[in-house]
Amino acid sequence: MHIVVCIKQVPDSAQIRVHPVTNTIMRQGVPAIVNPYDLFSLEEALRLKDKFGGKVTMLCMGPPQAEEALRKCISFGADDAVLVTDRAFAGADTLATSYALTAGVRQIAKEQAVDIVFTGKQTIDGDTAQVGPGIAKRMGLQLLTYVSRIVEVDLENRSITVERRAEGGVQVLKTSLPCLITMLENTNEMRFANLPAMIHAAAYPVRKWSKEDAGIEDLSKIGLKGSPTVVSKVFGPTPRSEKVEMLDLENSSLRDVSLNLIQKIFTRHPTLESDLLMKEMT
């Protein structure tokens, strides 16, 4: 079985701070990590490989330093890694990104046919959840998003059965291979990398493909030019003009503070109290 897992290197958004005056992102010292959602897909791919044998190839579009993210995945047990990197990709939105990644998958598939493509559910910086569906549509693959469990893979009949999280329940879907899957978060736990694997990963020759290597000739489909969306403005959240009102516990009892707070809440929100009373009566 040959599985391609697409990942992205992202800044650890929990550690990002915004400059209070210039409203720009202060990135210094913010570590770059593998998009956490992608790891649920990688782990699932590795489990399939454990079960069926075969190969897991990592694919990433990004700047040269994204090589590190791919190396990390090699240390977890992926077999091979390709970084599609070219200045021409800069500024890509999700549509242009899905085009570049699709080219990468197609090129990888020339070496060995691909059974499943995995992507993360979404990224933690862009947060769009669109790249997976985009690749699936471009490649004409069956799309399985928000998968919570892979129930069965039948390689002989080229079929796969999964559970997919939907609003209000779980869909059990059966489709044919090849397909594209995005895994839901917390559906598995990423395995640890052991020392020999880390040493292997550190020396692993990650393949770097330019746009030509990935078989892309049409510049109008990649980078800024291939992106229908245009970022017109970036700004910080407006700070709340109203200051918090603190209730002092030092000079009054817990009970008084509580009663005082309740008065304040209901005065501020005149209909809330009657809503609560209505609810209590029904």
Partner: protein
């Protein structure tokens, strides 16, 4: 990469578009008119996010002077006309209905085909979908098939006065920044919005509209993916955070899962729901459906009580639309006090029971007075 701006390009002064991009709408695409809303329904119920979007679409359409249309795909035995009538009461002028056995229950392939065909035939200018597991799955597929722009998880939708394009604002970098995104040279302009980000519109029972029917032109044997089963969530423990009027949320400051019962008790007295932060979910203290925030649910309660929650930006973006926010935290410098309306610096394990008691007593007294 993605719609998140590259940090190097973050200053707002950079003019939209560069590198010889085509930012002009072609004459052919200028014919695209109207605002569409995908009406998401499943097993007889419309997801409220669809009505919230109709309300938003109405405002956009009024600015543009064009109609709002509700898009309904479903099986022959599903009450799509009833849903359309409801859409009219919320502000839609028209409904496009596609009924086909193949469209019973959501599957990506037939829905993408149906949606794409409808867009190509009727040419809407703007197309909005809920950022749900269905809406996001469908929006990404349709946008790629149509090769148009899609902006995910928007928090504000407006019409840009100069270009008349949709200006869609969304949080990026975990909510630390916002960016406004436009699709200038492509149509339709697509956007998804999470449940509860937009206000529920008021229904006007006298409003009606016109229904147009179309056919899918696909048979079951052409659809590769089969739905073998749908396992509905058990109703009894269904958590409905986005639509709760009162939410009492607990964070890591509660120290252990046992202390969460203090949160549950206050929520019960207030007839509300229990929310939480991501670390508590990851530690297995509460169910994932209780997570409020960027990677959890967006909530819009009348009252949000946050106990032992620091107020990280990823949590803030999910709860700051609450009418009243009360924070209980031992640390006077916790960021939650930057956006709470009322704050108590104190130990949640003591404050929560006192609040529970005070609320119970107050409500009991008031209901006796009312009765």
């Amino acid at each position: 990469m993605s719609q998140a701006p590259t940090p190097a390009a973050a200053p707002a002064k950079r003019p939209a578009g560069r590198g010889g991009r085509n930012l002009e709408l072609s004459d052919e695409l200028k014919a695209y008119k109207g605002v569409w809303v995908f009406i998401e329904h499943d097993r007889g119920h419309v997801h409220s996010v669809s009505w919230e979007l109709i309300g938003e679409a109405r405002k956009l359409a009024d600015t543009l002077g064009c109609p709002v249309s509700a898009i309904l795909l479903g099986g022959p035995d599903e009450p799509l006309e009833k849903f359309a009538a409801e859409a009219f009461t919320f502000g839609a002028d028209k409904a496009y209905i596609m009924k086909d056995p193949v469209l019973k229950g959501y599957r990506n392939e037939p829905f993408t085909k149906g949606m794409t065909d409808l867009v190509n035939k009727y040419q809407p200018e703007i197309f909005l979908l809920g950022a749900t597991s269905m809406g996001r799955d469908l929006a990404g597929s349709v946008a790629t098939t149509l090769l148009t722009g899609l902006t995910a998880d928007c928090t504000e939708l407006k019409i840009d006065p100069t270009s008349k394009a949709l200006a869609a604002t969304r949080p990026t970098f975990g909510g630390s920044l916002y960016c406004t995104i436009m699709t200038l040279a492509y149509r339709p302009q697509m956007a998804t919005v999470r449940p509860r980000v937009m206000l529920m519109p008021r229904a006007d029972a006298s409003r009606t509209g016109e229904i147009t029917y179309d056919t899918l032109g696909m048979i079951e044997t052409q659809v590769v993916t089969k739905m073998l089963d749908f396992i509905a969530d058990a109703n009894s423990n269904k958590i409905n955070l986005p639509y709760a009027d009162v939410i009492v949320s607990g964070g890591k400051g509660l120290k252990n899962p046992e202390n969460f019962k203090l949160v549950f008790e206050l929520a019960r007295v207030l007839g509300g729901e229990v929310g939480s932060t991501r670390p508590c979910v990851q530690a297995g203290w509460v169910e994932a459906d209780r997570q409020v925030g960027q990677t959890g649910k967006t909530v819009r309660p009348k009252l949000y009580i946050a106990a032992g929650i620091s107020g990280a930006i990823q949590h803030r973006v999910g709860c700051e639309a609450a009418d009243v926010i009360v924070a209980i935290n031992t640390d006077v410098n916790a960021p939650i006090f930057e956006f709470a309306h009322y704050g108590i610096v104190g130990n949640a394990m003591q404050v929560l029971p006192a609040l529970t008691q005070a609320f119970a007593a107050h409500l009991a007294l008031r209901s006796r007075q009312v009765a």
